[in-house]
């Protein structure tokens, strides 16, 4: 066995070790579960326990799981969002450097808003175009400024307190 071959063997052992340990970690951490739509997967890390148990008691539990509200409804957007959030959530949970109580921010907020409007389109489009029946003596103006559904309906998904 030449020197080169010995080095190759050592490298192969190391790469194999990394791959083996990686595979074990993947299975141990239930990495495969993130490819499913089971909401329990989102509570693999205990930080989401409260949200998960609140969702179980929510009005949406039978009609929408985590992915239905928190990922876009197209295939590419869905997996891109899963990958992005999956990476950053793991990163912050592992380092422990994140503010608590948890807050939804930025793009994730828009995804949720889009999800409300996609399933409840019949109502939201009527609201945006003045299709609501006015109370007596009042006129309904088309909305000048749209506000987020969850601004008022913050209880429907998972009310944690």
């Amino acid at each position: 066995m030449t020197k080169g071959q010995r080095i190759a063997a050592a490298a192969a052992v190391l790469i194999g070790t990394a791959a083996g340990l990686g595979a074990f970690t993947f299975v141990y951490a239930k990495g495969y579960s993130y490819l499913t739509t089971d909401p329990a997967a989102c509570a693999n890390c205990h930080i989401m326990d409260e949200h998960y148990s609140a969702w179980l008691k929510s009005s949406h539990r039978n009609v929408a799981g985590c992915n239905d509200c928190h990922t876009p409804h197209d295939l590419v957007g869905k997996y891109a969002t899963k990958a992005k959030n999956g990476f950053w959530h793991s990163f912050y949970f592992t380092t422990g450097n994140f503010p608590y109580p948890l807050r939804i921010t930025g793009g994730n907020k828009e995804i949720v808003e889009g999800a409300c409007r996609s399933c409840h389109e019949g109502i939201t489009s009527a609201m945006n175009h003045g299709g609501v029946i006015a109370p007596p003596g009042m006129e309904v103006q088309p909305a000048r400024e749209e506000i987020a559904c969850t601004h008022c309906h913050e209880y429907v998904g998972h009310w944690v307190r």
Binding site: M1, T2, K3, G4, Q5, I7, A8, A10, A11, L14, I15, T17, A18, L21, G22, F24, T25, Y28, A29, C45, H46, I47, D49, E50, F93, T94, P99, Y100, P101, R103, I133, A134, P135, P136, V160, R161
Partner: protein, 500 residues
């Protein structure tokens, strides 16, 4: 593979192949090593987080109904115990609490740190309580850890002989009562009430402790204070519920307020046996409590300036909070003063009981999504307004007090004095109900300002009475009936709903 001992007859392999067996392979090995290291670290982290999520509980000691020392409970509940011990910290908020003020210990009072004096901060209070022990020494509140020693050493103890009743809320007294009553809590309560304060205090060792709120077998919340049990029974009876037993009938959510309400209340010492009584037989509002005191003819002291039969409001946090929007929304004391705290995967009630203003993130932001600055500003808005009204009400009450004093000096047989003194009694109690309450209006903001408005009105009525003007007690106007909303006729259906 080549024979190790035979010389290799083959020529050197071409350079192209060597490139992959040399430095490249070393780099690959290093990379694989680093990846392995990273994956192992991640695996360990995941393992630790999983372990956290198991919420292990180790029962190290047996806790019984006589275990009063919190350090013993702390062996089973170290996280809670560590938090509980933090109540020794001295911090102030804008309107409450105090930094540690150093003092020279004396023989009578060995404390070398105390809280700031309220009498120095607002000297009007000496005249406001003239003739009562509170005009001698009244300090800012500090943490639970000090409740016992601060009562033992307040100068109020030196000007009057206090009864053992005071211990009810200034020490861990459950085991003391049980022992004094031979296992009968109420009998022990009665016995300790009749003792001299110093004799009773000698029976207790700790400030409020685990056993005062928790059942040692199940850790469930429970009420241990006879004053609260009896007060709640009287209150519920006034609402048509007979035989209310708070430990049997209260919900878990109510208990998260009631355990605090055991002590953070208005009270008086009834009769010569100095029985601690919460004046709730007509209701929890200041008006009901005033009506109760008038009916039983109780006075705390006779005002030194005016001779009025005056009352000292204590710290009616429970009563005030019950009138506010948070109580109405189902929020409990513990939600803001002992908010949930994350320790690993565990949700722990923060036993560092303190002002939510020192802990806005956990205390307020769990429900309120606004920024910390915005929430602080909202609280300041309420408190600044209440403080302004409080100052006006104290001035108004003092004006009446001095006017009555002057009238007594001019002609003590003046028949208007008695009626004016009754108005001072009311103005004084209403003002003190907000002044003594530890939230500067926050626990029920509009109620606080309503009370202070009434206090100012009582002072006005007292003045008018003293000078012989005929004035109606209250304006004749009553609130208009509630508005109703009728559904749109075309859409039909739906009952008429009352707008609240």
């Amino acid at each position: 593979m080549a024979e190790p001992h035979a010389p290799d007859p083959r020529p050197e392999p071409p350079a192209r192949r060597r490139r992959f067996t040399g430095p490249w392979l070393i780099a690959a090995a290093v990379a694989a090593g680093l990846v392995t290291l990273g994956v192992a670290a991640l695996l360990t982290n995941i393992f630790e987080r999983r372990a956290e999520a198991r919420n292990p509980f180790y029962r190290v000691v047996e806790l019984t109904d006589t275990t009063v020392d919190p350090a013993v409970w702390g062996k089973n509940f170290p996280i809670h115990y560590d938090l509980y011990n933090n109540t020794v910290d001295m911090t102030r908020t804008r309107y409450g609490g105090s930094e540690a003020i150093p003092r020279q210990p004396t023989e009578l009072d060995p404390r070398d740190v105390v809280a700031a004096s309220r009498l120095v901060e607002d000297p009007r209070l000496r005249e406001f309580w003239a003739g009562y022990a509170f005009a001698e020494d009244f300090r800012e509140e500090r943490g639970h850890a000090y409740m016992f020693i601060d009562q033992v050493f307040t100068e109020r103890q030196q000007v009057v002989q206090q009864p053992g009743t005071c211990l009810h809320c200034h020490a861990s007294v459950y085991t003391v009562y049980m022992k004094a009553g031979d296992g009968d809590l109420i009998a022990g309560f009665d016995r300790v009430n009749r003792m001299k304060y110093q004799d009773a205090a000698a029976l207790a060792q700790h400030p409020v402790s685990c056993i005062d709120c928790h059942n040692p077998a199940t850790m469930e919340l429970r009420i241990t204070r006879p004053g609260f049990m009896e007060g709640m029974r009287a209150l519920k009876a006034s609402q048509g519920v007979d035989g209310y037993d708070v430990n049997r009938d209260a919900t878990r959510a109510e208990m998260r307020t009631y355990v605090c309400g055991q002590c953070h209340v208005e009270y008086y010492f009834k009769g010569p046996e100095k029985r601690l009584t919460y004046p709730w037989a007509k209701g929890l509002t200041v008006d009901s409590i005033m009506a109760y005191y008038d009916e039983v003819g109780f006075r705390d002291w006779t005002h030194a300036v005016s001779g009025a039969p005056t009352l000292k409001a204590q710290h009616p946090e429970f009563e005030m909070f019950s009138q506010g929007i948070h109580a109405r929304s189902g929020v409990a004391c513990a939600d803001c003063h002992m908010p949930y705290l994350r320790v690993g995967a565990m949700k722990v009630s923060d036993h560092w009981v303190r002002s939510p203003m020192l802990n806005v993130n956990n205390a307020c932001q769990t429900c309120h999504k606004q920024s910390e600055d915005e929430l602080q500003a909202r609280v300041s808005n309420i408190q600044d307004r209440t403080y302004e009204m409080r100052n006006i009400a104290i001035d108004a009450t003092l004006d009446l007090t001095r006017a009555i004093g002057a009238a007594v000096r001019a002609d003590s047989t003046n028949p208007r004095i008695a009626a004016a003194r009754q108005y001072q009694r009311k103005a004084q109690f209403y003002t003190d109900f907000v002044e003594a309450e530890n939230s500067m209006g926050f626990h029920a903001d509009q109620e606080s300002v309503r009370i202070l408005g009434n206090a100012v009105n009582f002072a006005r009525l007292g003045m008018a009475t003293l000078y012989g003007a005929r004035v109606p007690d209250r304006p004749a106007l009553v609130p208009p009936p509630p508005q109703t909303v009728t559904p749109h006729p075309e859409r039909g259906g739906g009952a008429t709903r009352e707008r609240r």
